[in-house]
């Protein structure tokens, strides 16, 4: 076994280096780094399933969540993840703080760094905000969701969930259904899935599916369609996205009724996909709109598991980023 005091042994033991200070989006990760997150998350999942579901590995580290947008699940997930690793956690919201008084993002992040934050988990309504923050602080920034751009930890927990059920994603078909245009979950998933060699199909109303996201990389492909029945043929995974009522208000869709007719994932449509196809949703769900209740809680649904896996995956990311900071 690796003897931790033996420098030679350390040098010889294989390990992938985590390259970056921050996790801003999954498009910055190499396939090897994605695999590293997956295997580390396996170990974290194991920790969480023990009687004492925590370890003291990140004792002494300070993790601050900085959420400019409301969130229950993501914030709570990060908090539990950090505490499960023994780190100290501080939660900040935009309201009732100096942020409301007009303090700039850069000043806020620098203040947190001066207080002693090692890691700042950020959620912000403007796409690109975490990139700006990352450039102006030595603290590590984890993007918890920026505008309509990225939600890397969600994509990684989605991938982790898929792999646990259907194994490696090489050659598998994943269909993402809904308001892709405004979805940061969809975008981050596209990068991880393509890196994993999957073929991704984006499906939704014509006004909500950006055609330029279609493409090919060395390993995976992404195409775009407005026909859900066609998209579901041979699908191994169906990921449904929330449709917001506001989209109707701005003229993107005629009505929710029209959306349900064309794009609701229900039993009839699920039957078109491969048997055993996974049903996923990043949450929170509008049951009865983008997804029918029986499917949301049915046999193929791994939606609750996504949430549990979210803690393990976020533990893995916190562990990798924080240990990389020491180097």
């Amino acid at each position: 076994m690796l003897d931790v005091s033996n420098p030679e042994a350390i040098a010889n033991e294989p390990g992938t280096r985590w390259r970056t200070k921050d996790l801003l989006d999954t498009d910055q990760l190499t396939p090897e780094e994605i695999d590293l997150v997956m295997s580390t998350a396996d170990a974290m999942h194991d920790v969480r399933s023990r009687p004492v579901g925590k370890v003291a590995t990140l004792r002494g580290a300070t993790v601050i969540t900085l959420f400019y947008e409301q969130s229950t699940r993501t914030r709570a997930s990060f908090e539990v993840a950090a505490k499960s690793l023994g780190a100290d956690v501080v939660n900040l919201t935009a309201s009732g703080s100096s942020i409301e008084k007009g303090e700039s993002l850069i000043d806020t992040v620098r203040t947190l760094e001066a207080i002693g934050a090692d890691v700042v988990v950020m959620r912000h309504p403007n796409s690109g905000a975490p990139y700006l923050a990352a450039r102006h602080t030595a603290a590590s920034i984890i993007n918890g969701g920026d505008g309509t751009h990225a939600h890397p930890t969600q994509a990684l927990l989605d991938l982790f969930t898929m792999r646990r059920h259907i194994g490696p994603l090489e050659g598998k078909r994943v269909v993402i259904v809904g308001d892709i245009l405004h979805s940061r979950v969809a975008r981050s998933n596209i990068w991880t899935l393509m890196a994993a060699g999957a073929s991704v199909t984006l499906c939704g109303p014509a006004t909500l599916v950006p055609r330029t996201l279609a493409g090919k990389t060395e390993r995976g492909t992404c195409d775009v369609t407005t026909n859900l029945e066609e998209a579901l043929e041979g699908a191994d995974v169906i990921m449904t996205l929330r449709i917001q009522k506001e989209r109707q208000h701005f003229g993107f869709i005629p009505s929710l009724r029209d959306y349900i007719r064309g794009y609701q994932v229900n039993a009839r449509r699920l039957a078109i996909a491969n048997p055993g196809a996974l049903v996923m949703h990043p949450g929170p769900m509008n049951e009865g709109i983008e997804i029918s209740p029986d499917i949301a809680h049915g046999l193929g649904s791994v939606i609750e598991e996504q949430v549990t896996n979210g803690v393990a995956v976020r533990m893995a990311i916190l562990y990798l980023i924080t240990t990389a900071r020491a180097q």
Binding site: M1, L2, D3, V4, S5, N6, E8, A9, I10, A11, E13, P14, G15, T16, R17, L36, S39, T40, D42, A43, M44, H45, D46, V47, R50, P51, V52, V55, A56, T57, L58, G60, L85, Y319, L320, T322, T323, A324, R325, A326, Q327
Partner: protein, 182 residues
């Protein structure tokens, strides 16, 4: 850089057999015994010990494996963190006699981490330590209960154990300036 092989496959096999006998003798049988190997090379040794015990006693004790990556005391100080792997202890260890198994005992820090990890799985009645090689230079008050071979070494040397399950062959090697024999 000199490389000297101190033990070959036959010697390792005999040593493992003797360790298995000592464990059974110390425990007065196989009752409540759980053999837990520290990843990486402690685990194949644990499996071999369980096999030997089964050969004499007709009962195979449960075997588990433990990854100590999350319990180390140098997480923020070393170079590239090693890849974490899931641990797996297939039985409840409350009240059990757990025998931790590792290939080389050196400073004792890995065993300290292993005990912390083990205690997150439950509350054993007793924890024993079995090692194939003890090379000295303890930094913590840790002592083994069952030792295959004592090999005094200099700090600059290192002791590498190869096991067929992982390395394709069995052998114990000392790498470095002076090698000495038990």
């Amino acid at each position: 850089m000199s490389l000297e092989r101190l033990l070959g496959p036959d010697e390792i096999a005999r040593t493992v057999r003797r360790l298995a006998h000592e464990i059974i003798e110390n425990n007065s049988g196989t009752a409540n015994l759980v053999i837990v190997g520290l990843l990486s090379r402690g685990y194949p040794l644990a499996v071999r010990l369980a096999t030997e015990i089964e050969a004499f006693e007709g009962v195979r004790p449960p075997v588990g494996r433990l990854d100590i990556g999350l319990y180390r005391d140098d997480v923020s100080r070393r170079g590239i963190p090693p890849v974490l792997r899931p641990s797996d202890i297939p039985v409840n260890i409350d009240g059990a006699t757990v025998v931790l198994v590792d290939d080389v005992l050196f400073t004792g820090r890995s065993v300290r981490a292993a005990m912390d990890a083990l205690l997150d799985f439950g509350r054993p009645a007793q924890v024993r330590l079995a090692v194939l090689i003890d090379r000295g230079h303890r930094e913590l008050p840790i002592r083994p209960d069952f030792v295959g071979k004592n090999i005094p070494t200099a700090l600059v040397q290192s002791v590498n154990v190869h096991l067929a399950e992982l390395d394709g062959e069995d052998g114990v090697y000392v790498v470095g300036q002076e090698a000495s024999h038990a």
